[in-house]
């Protein structure tokens, strides 16, 4: 596929991610997937809202959550969303090196976010004995937030795979849609996080 001359044109089109039929299909198919993901997370959110006061005598949301760490995590993920916007900006200017650089920064911020989340979960488990099995609130919390963390983990593996595989290829019409699809996924992770910090943490603090 990638040897095809048509994928390495003399002049890069303005939107290289949608210049081929395969790219267009990836674009549409991925938005369809994101629609499905919305429903999946809605069911997890609905379950969490229904069970968030069922603490079974264990710690409540208000006692557990610290806003400082959540604020740092929010800033990390929001900034990583902007850096992937920069990466797509450089992709559209056909600047492969800068695109790789900004996606690299995105990956670093993603890892920082993940490290905070792992620290947070260990803190709850060791300090408070708040586990997946300790209450219905615990099950719903770890399922929802953990599923989001799982998405971040998967996204990081995806991004690193893409960056390494295409490091020596440069940008062409074969891999541009792949990078663009990843950036959509990463923004969607941030969309979910906006609702998590609002519904789980801030509303948990309010009561």
């Amino acid at each position: 596929m990638s040897h095809d001359q048509s994928l390495n044109p003399e002049t890069m089109p303005n939107e290289p991610e949608k210049a081929t039929l395969e790219g267009k299909n990836k674009f549409l198919g991925f938005w369809f997937f994101l629609g499905g993901e919305t429903v999946l997370f809605a069911s997890l959110f609905g379950t969490f809202i229904a069970l968030r006061h069922s603490t079974a005598g264990g710690p409540s949301a208000d006692e557990l959550f610290g806003l400082e760490l959540v604020f740092i995590m929010t800033m990390l993920l929001l900034t990583s969303s902007l850096t992937s916007v920069y990466a797509v900006y450089h992709m559209r200017n056909n600047n492969f090196k800068k695109m790789q650089l900004w996606f690299g920064i995105t990956a670093i911020l993603g890892f920082a976010f993940l490290a905070c989340e792992i620290y947070e979960f260990t803190h709850y488990i060791t300090e408070y004995g708040f586990t997946f099995r300790s209450s219905a609130f615990g099950s719903a919390f770890y399922t929802l937030v953990g599923f989001h963390g799982g998405h971040v983990t998967f996204g990081l593996a995806w991004l690193i795979g893409l960056m390494l595989r295409n490091a020596k290829r440069g940008l062409n019409l074969y891999n541009a849609p792949k990078y663009y699809t990843f950036s959509l996924y990463w923004h969607f992770i941030d969309v979910i996080w906006v609702f998590i910090f609002t519904v789980v943490y801030l509303m948990g603090k309010v009561g």
């Binding site: 629609g35 919305t38 929001l78 200017n93 923004h187 969607f188 969309v191 609002t198 603090k205 309010v206």
Partner: protein, 107 residues
Amino acid sequence: MAENTNSKEANPFQKQKNKEEMQKQVISFAMMILFTIIAFVIVATDMMQEMFVVPVLLLLAIVQVAFQLYYFMHLKDKGHAFAAVMIYGGVWAAALTLAALGVITWW
């Protein structure tokens, strides 16, 4: 693509357009940071009555998500009609899911 400049660089007109787009995206990023800070401050300082806090927080979240979808994910650009159908189809099914879970829990 009629003109062939034999260059892999984007043409100057397009570059300028991309730059303007980028500026809009940086502005929406600043707005998102601002909304996040407002949301955290409202909760941290306990400044609002409890019955108003939740709707305000949800409103701030929805505005942020709109910025994310329309600017960062380019949903406002041309050729995104089907993408919008897909995601709003998902949002519709998500609303039904939340309504159903709410009804079986509290009714």
